[in-house]
């Protein structure tokens, strides 16, 4: 029973509640997994998060930065932290990776895994990779439909608690051109995606990481800059929001990546991590070596 203790209620709404899952019965294990919360993402990466130190389920974290600033490398780092077995220092949880611009390089991921598990065999690497699921989408419509079809996977796999979207801004120009003159039509698909993403995150207690690309130059006009300065962290990074408003409102943490051109120390990349609601900022730097990200 989905609602626990039976309470007197009209027959029709009870019937609706039972058939909400499109006629699928939820097993006891699935119910427990859903109610207890998914396996915790504790200690995923303390350097990245401005407060608590681990992403809580329901967090939507945006990685924003220009090209070559280390966003995809950071995603590989997070993926390895998730899929490594507990004995290897990982969290042993499953990850769903939605790749919208054919960016994902599984061989690079394997190189990083091999560095993290020095005595690994082919079998252990494949076992780790078995915890990663990859989907390629080539239009925003397909992205929306894929999110709908993935809902079933989230229901049936309680250890699948991390969803990565690289990148969610890949269809921006194509959508704008397809939508014609009205901004509403242009943003329609993205708004629907965000709405469904919000439902997935809420119902299945996921954490979402999404990358967005810096494709707009920061406006230097005074009107816009006074508006964007409401967040202290946005003042000194090259950030100009361009995706639809519903996405801006869904994001709980925003992490800005930048590459230091001629760095005096060895750390070539830096990040500024902001918690959107509490306006709490943390800065740190990292470098990228063959074994992946190093703080």
């Amino acid at each position: 029973m989905r609602r626990g203790l039976p309470t007197p209620r009209p027959l029709t709404s009870a019937a609706r509640a039972m058939s909400d899952g499109f006629g699928k019965a939820e097993s006891g294990a699935q119910l427990l997994a859903r109610l207890e919360g998914r396996s915790s993402l504790r200690n995923l990466e303390p350097y990245l998060f401005a407060d608590e130190g681990f992403p809580i389920h329901g967090d939507v974290i945006e990685f924003h930065g220009p090209e070559g600033s280390g966003k995809t490398e950071m995603l590989y780092h997070l993926i390895t932290r998730c899929i490594l077995p507990k004995s290897g220092g990982g969290l042993e949880v499953e990850v769903m990776f939605i790749d919208t611009d054919y960016h994902f390089d599984v061989l690079r991921l394997v190189t990083i895994l091999e560095h993290r598990l020095p005595q690994s065999t082919e079998e252990t690497i494949k076992l780790c990779l078995g915890r990663l699921f990859l989907v390629n989408c080539n239009s925003s419509t397909q992205l929306l439909l894929t999110l709908y079809s993935l809902e079933n996977m989230f229901c049936t796999r309680p250890s699948l608690c991390l969803l990565i979207l690289d990148s969610i801004s890949a269809f921006y120009w194509i959508d704008r051109s397809n939508g014609g003159e009205s901004y509403n039509m242009q943003e329609l698909n993205m708004k629907k995606c965000v709405k469904f993403l919000e439902k997935l995150v809420r119902e299945h207690h996921l954490a979402v990481f999404a990358t967005t690309q810096t494709i707009m130059q920061k406006s230097s006009s005074s009107a816009e800059s006074s508006f964007s300065l409401k967040h202290q962290c946005e003042a000194d990074v090259d950030y100009r929001p361009y995706l639809c408003k519903s996405w801006q409102q869904l994001v709980t943490h925003r992490i800005f990546f930048s590459k230091k051109c001629h760095s005096s120390n060895s750390k070539g990349f830096s990040i500024v991590s902001c918690h959107v609601k509490r306006n709490h900022v943390v800065k740190c730097s990292f470098s990228v070596a063959e074994c992946g990200v190093q703080f």
Binding site: G23, E67, R108, C128, Y148, W173, R176
Partner: protein, 297 residues
């Protein structure tokens, strides 16, 4: 925007479509995002039938997740690294051109981009015996130069002319900025959308067919820092996974030489900043002339 039509999937009949249209459901997206219970009641259609249709439509139009281990197995057998024919360029690119990826050669006019492309094409088609598709948008492709390059690699005429039909392994587009630049600029976003569609096609071709793709691009100067950056703007800069800058080097006595310096600007697996020297005027593979730097011309 796929419109619902009879026969789109089994179970989707013309009457069903008429009833759905009457309730405002025209496209596949409308159907999948709607509440089937409500639709079943409003259109008096069978709930089970609707659920079955929804399942089939989702399977048809959404992308299928693949497991990481399966992907790794697939890639191990299908991925290849094509040597460019030049040891120094191979060193820059971490042993050669990777299939499934896009390499961008950027440089000022006359810095040797077309020569490097021709040399790579000659090398791949002769030494590796793989088919090359060379798309020339600038008129810079000269058959006589290609003949010189191939003749330097083999004496036999038969080997030089061999025709083969088969899958292409290397795709060279020289240059991509020549066709896209006229579309950009102004406040219209159509040019940018077209450029991103092109980028998407190139990457899809590279991944699905296991091609190594090379594109050439111009350079502009960054207004704030004065550094050279690739043309076509920020949106394009995300597309290639590897980027090499070609600059022609000054020979001794200030004369222009046939040497050029290639530096690695972006790479998914190597640290950036590596530089090598290539000789683009010669007939052999792009090796540096021995003892070039101190010699008098």
């Amino acid at each position: 925007m796929v419109i619902l039509q009879a026969g789109l999937c089994p179970g989707l009949t013309a009457e069903m479509i008429q009833l759905l249209k009457a309730n405002g459901i025209r496209t596949v997206v409308d159907f999948i995002s709607s509440d089937l219970e409500e639709i079943a009641q409003k259109c008096s259609l069978s709930y089970k039938a609707l659920v079955a249709v929804r399942r089939v439509l989702l399977a048809q139009f959404s992308a299928f997740p693949i497991n990481g281990a399966d992907l790794y197995e697939e890639l191990k057998s299908s991925m290849a690294i094509l040597s460019t024919g030049s040891k120094s360029l191979d060193k820059l690119l971490d042993s050669g051109l990777y299939t499934g990826e896009v390499l961008e050669l950027m440089g000022a006019p006359g810095s040797g981009k077309t020569q490097v492309c021709l040399s790579m094409a000659a090398s791949v088609s002769h030494s590796l015996k793989q088919n090359v598709l060379f798309i020339d948008s600038t008129g810079g492709f000269t058959a006589s130069r290609l003949l010189q390059l191939v003749q330097s690699r083999t004496e036999e005429e038969e080997e030089q002319v061999v025709c083969s039909v088969g899958p292409v392994k290397l795709l060279v587009v020289d240059s991509v900025s020549a066709v896209v630049c006229p579309l950009l600029g102004g406040r219209q976003t159509d040019g940018l959308a077209l450029m991103m569609q092109l980028a998407r096609e190139l990457k899809t071709l590279a991944r699905e067919f296991g091609l190594a793709t090379v594109v050439t691009n111009h350079v502009t100067r960054d207004s704030s820092s004065g550094h050279l950056k690739p043309a076509l703007g920020r949106s394009w800069s995300f597309v290639p996974s590897t980027r090499v800058l070609l600059e022609s080097s000054q020979g001794p006595l200030g004369k222009a030489s046939t040497q050029c310096i290639a530096s690695l600007r972006k790479s998914p697996r190597q640290p950036t900043g590596i530089q090598v020297e290539l000789d683009i005027g010669g007939y052999e593979a792009l090796e540096e002339r021995p003892g070039a730097s101190g010699e008098e011309l």
